[in-house]
Symmetry: C2
Subunit: 205 residues, 2 copies
Amino acid sequence: MGRKSLKEARKKEIIKVFYSLAKKNGLENTSIAKIAAKMEINPSLIIHYFQTREDLVYGLVDYILDKYKLIYKVSATHSKDSRKALLEIIGNIFSKKWNALFDDGLFYGCYAMTFHDAKVRDLYKKLLDSLRQMLIGHIEQCREDGVLDVDDVETVADNIFVLIDGAYFYLSLVTDKEEYEQRLAKYRQQALSILHLKELSEVAG
Amino acid sequence: MGRKSLKEARKKEIIKVFYSLAKKNGLENTSIAKIAAKMEINPSLIIHYFQTREDLVYGLVDYILDKYKLIYKVSATHSKDSRKALLEIIGNIFSKKWNALFDDGLFYGCYAMTFHDAKVRDLYKKLLDSLRQMLIGHIEQCREDGVLDVDDVETVADNIFVLIDGAYFYLSLVTDKEEYEQRLAKYRQQALSILHLKELSEVAG
DNA sequence: TGATAAATTGAATGAATGTTCAATTAATTT
DNA sequence: AAATTAATTGAACATTCATTCAATTTATCA
């Protein structure tokens, strides 16, 4: 008996507000008090759900990495066609959709924490490694289906990831919209060339 | 008359302590009070030299980016030989020297600030662009000297930078020393292959 | 030696921080 | 309606923060 627990839903609400405030003002400028003020609740309620600020931050990292994972999601329509699936992933990664879905500033902000927080480092490492495995799987599948001609799958996947990380590191500093899009297209092109894949209009849109 | 000004030297001392503390504990955990305590001086003295914490952070960013620049420095002995100069730069970038000279955690920590601080963003952008120009110059020189066969110098330089940034992004999460070194060697190899250069024992050591 | 200017201290400020605990409100079950 | 459990509040806490200002120490020059 007693009242129904809202714990998980409430925690998510809090983290979402944390995310939006940190996105706007930066991680270090977003305090528990400010989150509470924005939600018009008492700061102690946030502590009630997350015992410490540390735990709250871990929650945010989880949230961010979950979003990040979505970039690599394959839509149901392409799940049977390994070539289309791979093209969709590459397309998602090097598209403007990314920016709508995801905030690079927070991603790098939390990434910076990995250098001093073992837990955050583990979360990042595990996610990045799992994404690597996922991409390896896709490429492997393509090779088995005979639509891809690569010799060393792991190296190819690594090259793709280096390209992604390196591309966005500099891109995040490019404010000129046109230059940004040109570079993005170029990097996508390069990813496809690493895979020995040609972009098709049907998928590349 | 009056006392001789120690301003610049003192500012540098303060920033060095700031750097070492932030390297150990993270940027957000390093306050003016802690820097002062470490130096056994009064916090107000730090404010006396840097009017605000903001300015102190800008000083740190300058300091970090100056260090970063050193990676691209060419030693006097190679300054006349464009091929050796380029090989030295590539060697420096993908070497363990980097880690001794430079703290990646702080570099990324300050990088994360670029998303909310226009001044920091400009400092980073200007530095990265100048390094790009520098590398372009080296490659250009190599081509003129006939020791390099590349068609689009700018693209090649961009590829190198993408490789660097992408490589270190993931490398920073690799704790296993052996894997770290293997990857590093692989990425250096890849840089040389982008340049159509073969590693020589004399330089690569 | 005395004037001058910079270095440095020391005390104090108010604001913001994360966190505590007890008290209260609200929903759900018997 | 009474009991139970969770949600939420509100007040208080000690700490830390960046920053202020006046006072003092220290070096340098005439």
